[in-house]
């Protein structure tokens, strides 16, 4: 973590003395444990912010708030036209932008920046550290043996779904155990994060491949339940891996499409 903490210091050191810096205070808030610190260097690079202005209202002010560039007072009217100024202007009177609206916009903006940042090398490192410390929780599945989870979204636009957790071991998607994470926006981690993470840290995939591939089958007094019974086994495929030679052949045929029977 220290690696990018250093990056931020030169730009924000001079004005950090009097009030809390926005990013650290946001990340240390209760329920924000899944977020990592995005260095200000990353945010200051306009290239990284491409098209975010269209997605977040009051983009400029929100950005300034994140970067601790200016104190936004509670009743300050927004003088300059924001990118989405049209929506405010419709009411006729000069738009009043309160601190809480800017604060909300800043959170959204930070979330979207965060989703971009964690796909960079530096961001992946920061997330890997959190992953190692099990900060995203462990897989509830018994046979996954406490495998660490990776946060991910089901959509890259805000307001579609909350955060989900991907288990690299059973390759399945879970809801967070603790209710405080249930309302976190999924787009703040994005749909690509687990995939990029797996491809970046090859050793994780290797580790998962070497893991035991046990699965559970329901039994009554030691006897299997007949397949044709209503409660018979129907989900074996979900945790199945090719074992025999025929199955590996079949697996090879599935490389690009589902073979027709």
């Amino acid at each position: 973590m220290s690696e990018y903490m250093d990056d931020r210091t030169p730009s924000s050191e001079e004005d950090s003395g009097t009030y809390d810096e926005w990013i650290p205070s946001f990340c240390s808030r209760f329920g924000h444990e899944y977020f990592c610190h995005v260095p200000t260097m990353f945010i200051e690079d306009d290239f990284n912010m491409t098209s975010l202005a269209q997605e977040v209202p009051h983009y400029r002010k929100a950005l300034d708030l994140i970067l601790d560039l200016e104190e936004v007072s509670g009743d300050e009217a927004s003088g300059e036209m924001d990118v989405d100024g049209a929506s405010n202007g419709a009411s006729g009177k000069p738009p009043i932008v309160s601190r809480s609206i800017i604060e909300h916009a800043a959170e959204q903006l930070y979330g979207l920046i965060h989703a971009r940042f964690i796909l960079t090398k530096q961001g992946l490192q920061a997330m890997a550290e959190k992953f190692d410390h099990k900060q995203f929780g462990t897989c509830p599945r018994y046979f996954c043996n406490g495998m660490q989870l990776l946060p991910c979204g089901l959509s890259d636009t805000i307001g579609k779904s909350t955060v989900r957790l991907y288990c690299p071991s059973c390759q399945d998607l879970y809801l967070p155990q603790s209710s405080r994470f249930l309302c976190l926006e999924g787009a703040y981690w994005g749909t690509s994060f687990p995939g990029v993470f797996l491809k970046h840290f090859k050793e994780l995939e290797d580790y998962v491949e070497r893991k035991g591939k046990e699965s559970y089958e329901l039994r009554v007094f030691g006897f299997r339940i007949n397949d044709q019974a209503v409660s018979g086994q129907r989900m074996k495929w979900l945790r199945q891996y090719p074992q025999t030679n025929e199955e590996w052949d079949e697996f090879a045929k599935c490389e690009f499409e589902l073979p027709q029977a």
Partner: protein, 252 residues
């Protein structure tokens, strides 16, 4: 609670029997205290008649020392005098033994008709929690043990939707002995209430990068889907109706 019918022949004095009826008026029943304890939400109440029926206790005699006394303790049949004469250490041992013994009877009771009914009510309330798997849609879980011998492993939760095994959310529940629910409970439960078997989800999650599926994971998912289709075909050939309970939910 029904008056315990004593079938524990011989060991019980007549005055203990008389004691029982008035002691229960001002002392809380042991079973109620046990069930009210934090972390014991998974247990249901075992009828006193069931506990005192010797037939139900076959092979449990060796599970705890002073078996008869433990049974009497559980159904609040020990006289005040006997309890007062016990050293605190003895009482503590008795309490631990009673909890273990109750658990073992519980495992047997919950696969009887009455026990299944009680567990059904708890399942309906999702007392055992819900499956965290996204595609299982908050399916209520069922407790299950991996061994029928106590002291081997803790209780696990079975999801009837994805047919997989999960660890309980709370550490309080995760430390309960799995033998107190037994290995056969979910199977018995789903056979007794086939209407409780959900239709299984077929949707999968494959990690994507910028909209493109990861090749290796997608290939495995395709192969697994192939296995599912083969099973589905086999079942349909055997005239199993898959549009009802125990069938598959369509991917959409």
């Amino acid at each position: 609670m029904s008056k315990p019918e004593l079938q524990l022949s011989g060991d019980v004095d007549q005055d203990m029997l008389n004691d029982d009826s008035n002691s229960s008026e001002y002392v809380e029943m042991w079973v109620d205290l046990f069930l009210g304890r934090k972390g014991h939400e998974y247990f249901c109440e075992v009828d006193a008649d069931y506990i005192t029926d010797r037939f139900n206790l076959i092979n449990l005699q060796k599970a705890v020392p002073k078996f008869t006394q433990v049974v009497q303790y559980i159904v609040d049949d020990l006289s005040e005098k006997t309890l007062e004469n016990m050293t605190p250490q003895r009482l503590e041992v008795l309490e631990t033994d009673a909890r273990k013994f109750y658990g073992l009877i519980h495992a047997r009771y919950i696969i009887t008709v009455k026990g299944l009914q009680k567990m059904y009510a708890k399942y309906k309330e999702a007392d055992f929690g819900r499956c965290l798997r996204v595609h299982c849609n908050f399916q209520p879980l069922l407790p299950v043990g991996l061994h029928d011998i106590p002291g081997k492993d803790c209780v696990k939760l079975y999801c009837p939707s994805c047919e997989d095994l999960y660890n309980p959310k709370s550490s309080r529940h995760a430390s309960i002995d799995g033998a107190f629910f037994g290995t056969s409970f979910p199977g018995m439960f789903l056979q007794a209430f086939p209407e409780m078997v959900p239709r299984h989800p077929t949707r999968r999650y494959v990690p994507k990068i910028f909209g493109f599926e990861l090749h290796k994971q997608a290939q495995l998912a395709r192969w697994q889907e192939l296995q599912r289709r083969k099973l589905e075909k086999k079942l349909i050939d055997n005239n199993v109706d898959l549009s009802r309970n125990g069938g598959y939910r369509s991917a959409e």
